[in-house]
Amino acid sequence: AFGLYFPRKEYLENVYIDEPAGMPLLRIHALRDSHEEVAHFHLCQNLVISRARSHENNWFQIKEKTGLLYLSKSLDREDFNMLSVGNWMPLSKVMLSVFLSSHPFQEKECGSATRITVFLSLINATAPACSSLTARQLCFTEMDLSFHIKENKPPGTFYQLQLPSVHHLCQNLSISYKLLAAEGLPFRYNENTTSVRVTQRLDREERERYELIAKCTVRMGLREMQVEVPFLVNVLDEDDSPPFLPNDTDTADAVVEFNRKEGTVVATLTVYDADTTPIYPLESSRKKYTGTIVTDDPWISETFRVEHIFDEIHFSPNGSQVRGTRHEYKLVLNKSISVTEHRSFQLDVLVNDTEFHGPERSVMLHFNVTILPVSIQFSNMTYQFTVNRNAERFAQIGKICIENCMKFRGVNITYKLLSPNVSCYPVSIVQGREDKYGSLYVNDSSVLRRLECKEIQYTVQATDKQSRKHTKTLLTLVLEGTLLKKEDDCPDSCAISKHRAECEECGGLGVLTGRCQWRQGSGKGITTNYSTCTPSIKTCPDGICDGVEGKDPAVCPQDCTSGNIIGGHGKGIGNLGIKSGHGICYCFPKENCYCEKDDIKEQLCDDMCKTVI
């Protein structure tokens, strides 16, 4: 198997002008998948300059067996200028690709699956004298000492601490290294070669990060300098753990009753895996960990689907934290279920960890599904509402609702009045939100004024849209109250009134008793509890432009306006209505609304204020 790999993705080194041919630059290592593999290194014969321009590589070569990158030809100033052209950054960098193969490279082709990048910084100067270098520069390059080693692979050497170029140039300096905090860890430092070796197969599920310290000691005559840098090893994961169930729970109950809407999650079961699962790219990870409904019943496979989400969790196998995955399999309604449906069955979902090569790669999840029918019926057999004779058009009298109607989702009920004796017919029904209920409102206020209409009986019918099942009940309207005299020059809409007095002596569209109602706000800044005049405090302004209010802009512009609002305010959802306002908010329907402080009583500037100014 071709399982050779690089323990890091990038290498970094400096190259100076006029360094001699044969100058070693850096050592690259490869780790193996199986013992018999031998690594062969090869350089792509193109340099990439400033990451876009390419040039034939005339200067750098790599030893195929050892991975030592060296200068095969000195880089003189002319070469240097040529390679820096078009490079805008103060520091010129060239990029080399190093390829890895388990067999000798036949042709000098530029390609193989495994490659890394070497960045060489071209320094516009000759190599500095050894004595002028700091200990940090003598010991380490700028690149961080961070490596990755795949789990379950044979041991091997993966880094050499000594810098080949420094070793080559500064031979009379004594530079020695040590690997600290390595006791008991599977890494070994070899003093003769300064190389670091992983001594055994690693297991990521046991520990996924090793933090060591590389310590370097430089002796220059009598002077001794020490530098320490972090030396990190990350263990790369492979799929070597089977899925398992938390607390051995593989069964969940799923009851479908009032909520029958498509997309509803009816039950969830969880599967754990000690392996990590990248969420990027998401789709490929989903494909690796599948969940399929096992059934021959076409109804089941049409009605249900399984949704798979997963996230990262932590396990602590032996004190250290390692990442693992929690997979959640949600049983979801694939379509809205009819109210008449009545079944129960067991639904099995097969979860399969497709990349795990072992006998326990799959688990079976069981959902005990119960679909209960819901009845379409009115609970209290008759409705009775009293309506004031002074109620105006669009006054909201009450709600009509079948049993449990507010719990329904995915069940659309249509409410309808079956017309009674033709002469007295003052009300209509409008559908409430999400077709859960019906709102009863005054449609013809002149009927209310007619004395012959006193008690009116209707039949209300509720029909389920999908099953056409329906139910009926009786509705009695009792008209009461004495007729008030209508004030002259009162506006159509309560919302126009700016003051309490004019509000409460007028009526307007939507009023229940012939008079508008005043809401006194808290009066502090811009608030949802602003002062305003409204047909009914219960329904307007409540921040929702409901079906009845939406029928005429004069009923409740505070909830429904889409026009300008002048003054301090906040708009409602979808830019409709006044969610919050400053002081008193009043509206001219189909025109602007105004929110302002009623400041006639307040002095604009008192004596204290005048003194300050």
Partner: protein
Amino acid sequence: LAGPPSPGGQDPRAWRVPVDCVRANELCAAEPSCSSRYRTLRQCLAGRDRNTMLANKECQAALEVLQESPLYDCRCKRGMKKELQCLQIYWSIHLGLTEGEEFYEASPYEPVTSRLSDIFRLASIFSGMDPATTSRSNHCLDAAKACNLNDNCKRLRSGYISTCSRELSASEPCSRRKCHKALRQFFDRVPGEFTFRLLFCSCRDQACAERRRQTIVPSCSYEDKEKPNCLDLRGTCRTDHLCRSRLADFHTNCQATFQSLTSCPGDNYQACLGSYAGLIGFDMTPNYVDASTTSITISPWCSCKGSGNMEEECEKFLRDFTENPCLRNAIQAFGNGTDVNLAP
């Protein structure tokens, strides 16, 4: 208008003077050999695999010819006319030549030569006070006041604020797309004297820091229901030429380096802050993560959860925002009103 002179007749080095890619494209189109090679190269690169491309003789020849054409070194300017077109030309060549999955990509934008000190000079003229001396005031509030006194700044600022805080429905608090567009207009069209003061004002109390955090209306432009993985977010950003360019620009100008005193490339704070501001209004929009006054932590809206074997790379990517000494020094230097003194 007379046709452009043929590049072949000129000194071969003359075109090395930077030319924008739109212009370079025109120059190339005027010359048959260049335009046909450009077409060939684009076809070669459509396959997206750099190595097969380099192996092909015809592609190789096209590449060599084009390396001598103005298209090769062309760059774009931030907020220039036809910026998107310019970047499309830039990436049509560079996308296939770089690894595609390179960690840091070179910026397609021209280098920034101006300095922070230029901004301080202008800013103090606008505000009538030296930012360094007014340590007790709320600098973020001052910045907002200064913006409101300038018609252009005020118009575009109120433009993005109203767009970003317009509630659409209960489930959709705002139109993120429109908000981002308005933010981009603000940061592209308003000079740095105003935008930098708003973004990088220094704070001593939490109210000020909160105002600073709120500058870009983060509830709409920044936060989201879920935090995506940073590498996933980077992938999304790189599918968009503009976002990809701004991210590459950020990496070019804010990448911390040991080779300068300030940790910034070329000790250029202005370039780093400019490319930070250039990311606002894209998928990679960065912001302050909290209203802390003592420590400044910047991050895009992403995390490294779920990185699998790419966790190291993800954390490296995220650290360029959260623990970047160049970016932090640049923000602090701007807040203190100090710039690097450039010895001649």
